[in-house]
Amino acid sequence: MAGKIINIFDPPSSASSESDVGETQADFSEVFPDCEGDEEKSGDFYNTPASPITVPYCPRPPSTGSQKSPRSRRQRTTSLNQSSKKSAAESMIRTQHRTIYTAGRPPWYNSEGQKVEPLIIGICGGSASGKTTVAEKIIEALGVPWVTLLSMDSFYKVLNEKQREIANRNEYNFDHPDAFDFDLLFSTLQRLKEGRKVEVPIYNFVTHARESRTKTMYGANVIIFEGIFSFHNPKVLEMLDMKIFVDTDADVRLVRRLRRDISQRGRDLDGVLKQYCGMVQPSFNHYIAPLKVHADIIVPRGGENEVAIQLIVQHVHTQLQLRGFKLREELAQIHARSGQPRPDTLKLLPTTPQIRGLHTFIRNKDTPRDEFIFYSKRLIRLVIEYTLSLMQFNEKIVETPQGVQYKGKRMATDKICGVSILRAGETMEQAVCDVCKDIRIGKILIQTNLQTGEPELYYLRLPKDIKDYKVILMDATVATGAAAMMAIRVLLDHDVPESNILIVSLLMAESGVNSIAYAFPKVQIVTTAIDPEINDKFYVLPGMGNFGDRYFGTEPSDDLLQ
């Protein structure tokens, strides 16, 4: 089964450039695991998956042999490599028939910024019953982005010295509930359900310990959780929205195990049979088979059962639709009513003649592009300087070369980082770098889905330990606030405290300000101007057009606009 997983996660041959970068990085950090540099490649940045279809590296328990791809015959110590390759390919799932790009996560929260819970599907069944195959087929048929696949194999307990000896003699029962760390499993699943980032342990079957590396996973719209005891723990069971039991004939399971262990893992017939009869089968009969009563659906014959999988997929689609909503429209409507007092968290730059003069250039549609860029940069610099003045400062008395003391101030923290919302937000990166030496910059790509009009999250890469930083979140313009809210939600899911976030932009619409302030009352909102309206294309009025297009020179020609 492990072999199968690897098949699916072969590094994509026609990967997007994003995932190429990810791969380089993963390999690099693999070679220099402790390297601390400023370059992205040195592992300072998460290789954050555009989406977490994350099939964790999960060798089957009894196989003390090697966890290897069908092509290489190396020992399991190479597993790091494989898992890092897997993480590189996280933004897509490749099957024999097609590639599912898992980029583009639609909103996972409502217009109040509160998260909508993901759908959690539990898959249970005996060893080699085809749970993973069923899970993969569901993912493939679902075709929705942002699915997380969590395997129970990641949660084996760490063995002590004595247990390890037993395990080496093939006598440790990995098919017993006690072999799993249900507390960690529960908390991990709980966090995933809350949409937070989790570090899933990587279990090493050679040392029977957890590797120091962990696998980073993100909350998703659908979480699939599979394992032989996935229905065992009542707390975990309660979290599952849909419970599937894969019921494959015992003979078939034995045949699969024999074939896999003998031909792929080089184990001998007697050893496999001894383990099967002594532990795997009794354990199945005693613990796993009774779990069937919890199931909503029992799938006979595992992954071959196309009809069952179709039924499941239909149900999941219905469930997802029930949870869906029109976020952007809702945002535009809720706060459209004017006359509300402006929120306290709004920090508007004083409107000096200078600021108005800059706006005049930037807003004028006839401004040539080089002037547009020049004046934009000036305005950006002013807004960034202003943003820094909103940080915490401490009083400090310094000695001057003139021999007198000077009562001044210094910033309370040097942990500030910038996060730009692609693409327009990137225009502000330079200014942040100009005012903060060596600042770390993260990126979040959010695009509007042209069919639904909803923002979708495609890509993110954030500085390590971003939770300890003050985050300057940059976007050039904020209309409905939908993209900004998604970006804030992402930061919150990375455990950044709400009060540490400042959303900075050149121009905001009144309704966007209100939406953000309402959903995230502690986020500071910094801008140079506020416009009253949004048109039906969600552009600010009078506005400045599509800032990114004008700055980067990618605006469509006039007749296309009409």
């Binding site: 000096t352 003069g357 549609k365 020049f374 820094l388 310094v398 000077y406 210094r410």
Partner: protein, 220 residues
């Protein structure tokens, strides 16, 4: 040195006294930049970095003093924005040497602005300021002049420079003085002699950081 001295910082009194004196709105961020520039322990690289940032802010603020007219422009969404347009006919004049540190800041804001220079040296014995060199755009008399000099302790140098500008028929009310650090005495000297001149600074403080030029250009 007493605490009283430490507390004379925001110079609000002077603003009330001289209506043409403007002090950059002092937020924490600006205070930090000033602290870094004043701190003896600051490295040269940090010093220059912070100086450039403060200069940029002072220049941006100085540009606010320039004349403008209202104008309406059409935005890409075909709406009207009520903006304003600066009048042309401005120029910069830097006082050599430390004033030149501010030239880049001005260039960053006004790409093709003309910049003149004055070199004023004070006599080692008499402390009298003497103009050694001056070169201005030809039509400076018709222009608004942004006079740049970062540190003022006596105000003599600037007074001399303003005198030279006036000799070139620049109107006193058309001169805007951009400055980073200034002593009360300098405010008095300059604004008493030239009451119509507009002066902008980031701080009025009894002790001027006279090491500025040397540290900025690395000649200490």
């Amino acid at each position: 040195m007493g605490n009283a001295e430490l507390d004379i910082i925001d110079g609000a009194d002077y603003v009330n006294h001289y209506k043409n004196l403007k002090i950059l709105h002092c937020n924490n961020q600006i205070k930090e930049l000033q602290t870094i520039l004043r701190d003896r322990e600051t490295s040269r690289s940090d010093f220059k970095f912070s100086a450039d940032r403060l200069i940029r802010l002072v220049i941006e603020e100085s540009l606010n003093q320039l004349p403008f007219t209202d104008c309406k422009v059409k935005t890409p969404t075909n709406s009207i924005y009520d903006g304003l347009k600066y009048k042309s006919g401005n120029c910069g004049v830097s006082i050599v040497r430390s004033g030149e540190a501010m030239e880049q800041g001005l260039r960053d804001c006004c790409r093709s602005i003309r910049i003149g220079k004055i070199l004023v040296e004070s006599d080692a014995d008499t402390h009298e300021a003497k103009v050694v060199y001056a070169r201005f755009p030809e039509d400076i008399a018709q222009r608004h002049v942004l006079l740049m000099y970062p540190i003022m302790s006596t105000g003599n140098t600037v007074s001399k420079a303003v005198t030279v500008l006036k000799e070139h028929k620049v109107k006193e009310e058309n001169i805007i003085l951009s400055n980073l650090f200034c002593t009360p005495a300098a405010v008095q000297t300059v604004l008493e002699s030239f009451p119509k001149l507009k002066m902008l600074t980031s701080e009025v403080h009894p002790v001027a950081p006279n090491h500025f030029g040397q540290k900025y250009f690395g000649t200490d």
